[in-house]
Symmetry: C2
């Protein structure tokens, strides 16, 4: 019909966000600051992984954390107990972070003095996958109790991440989670993804992940 | 705790949006264009009210419509059948419009040549109430079958609107909807709100609402 025009708002909004994300990523690169966007379902172990990773790397690099939560400060308090600077973004209902929100967090940090900033995104495998935060790399956690079918259900999230941390491997003996099948499903979406298997409870596998991340940070900040 | 800092992202995002809305409202005022932000639950009769209002006012003022929908163009097609220019914003899941989205719609219109632009917001009584669109006035519809308790459940929406259209009054005889009680509840939140009772099906009451709107538009564009 001639007097009707369709505008895809979502695509426009995402395009605006993508442009802002690229700009932020370039500016962090210039400041030699590496930013990790950590995504996962609620309860997959984002804060636990951060606590383990901070422990492993705090003597090598200067770290801060931006925590996003819909309506609490519990996670930020856990991080703050380690002595690491922690910014809590309370989103009041928003289900993902975008660049404008991340920048509010960064404005509260002395980014030039930091080597590594973690963003703990909202617990959600859908919307956060669509919004580039401006981070240097995107990381996701899949925990064993969530099941090996998640790559089939949330393909965008698995497609865009640079690394997948499979957490709670201490549950494997009690679970019908098939690690090989899950890996096969993930690699069909994302052949180059780096996969680590860890237990944040026992500490198993944390060293491999932390060393990989340290190398990435060091080559970025050199 | 000294190394934790709380940032209310939602408040910041709303403040940014409010500032952009004020700027848009001022710029529309300069162009002598009156913009109505129409909000309601799904199925309350937003598109039917627009069709009736366009019919009543199309000989007096130049009208266009910006339709927002999560994922269809049905409403825009109905408007376009009247010959009035209609922009469909497909939000792809977003549950409200903000100023940046409205501006994408306005960019497709020759606003200077228009007297009256309707925005049909997403069918939702929660989030749209929080986001100023930059419209000259906010209008909401409550339909009789929704019940007279809605002002108690969605106080922000009823508080911020300049006028309330009570639609589907042809259902009153079949309903336990108490008009006086509803009005009392609304006026407790918003003493100055203008209330119209209409039936978009029979056309009852449309003239009073349309005349009120026409006067508002004419005093704005003079």
């Amino acid at each position: 019909m001639s007097n009707i025009q369709l505008i895809e708002v979502k695509e426009d909004i995402l395009a605006d966000n993508d442009a802002a994300a690229k700009e932020l990523r370039d500016s962090l690169k210039k400041e030699k600051t590496f930013m990790v966007n950590l995504m996962a379902s609620p309860g997959a172990g984002k804060t636990s992984l951060l606590l383990q990773t901070i422990q492993a790397l705090r003597n090598d690099v200067n770290i801060a954390v931006i925590e996003a939560d819909i309506d609490s400060v519990v996670d930020a308090e856990k991080i703050a107990e380690t002595g690491i600077q922690s910014i809590q973004l309370r989103t009041g209902g928003f289900c993902h972070l975008d660049v404008s929100m991340v920048k509010k967090g960064l404005a509260a940090l002395d980014t030039g003095a930091l080597d590594l900033i973690f963003i703990e995104n909202i617990g959600n495998l859908v919307c956060p996958a669509e919004f580039d935060t401006g981070a240097t790399i995107d990381i996701m956690i899949l925990s064993v109790p969530e099941g090996d079918d998640k790559p089939l259900k949330y393909p965008l999230m698995f497609s865009k991440c640079h690394a997948l941390i499979v957490n709670k491997v201490d549950y494997l003996s009690l679970s019908d989670f098939k690690m090989e099948l899950m890996e096969e499903r993930v690699r069909r979406l994302n052949p180059d993804i780096k996969i680590f298997t860890v237990s944040c409870k026992t500490g198993e596998g944390i060293d491999l992940w932390a060393n990989w991340l340290l190398e990435a940070v060091q080559s970025h900040i050199q």
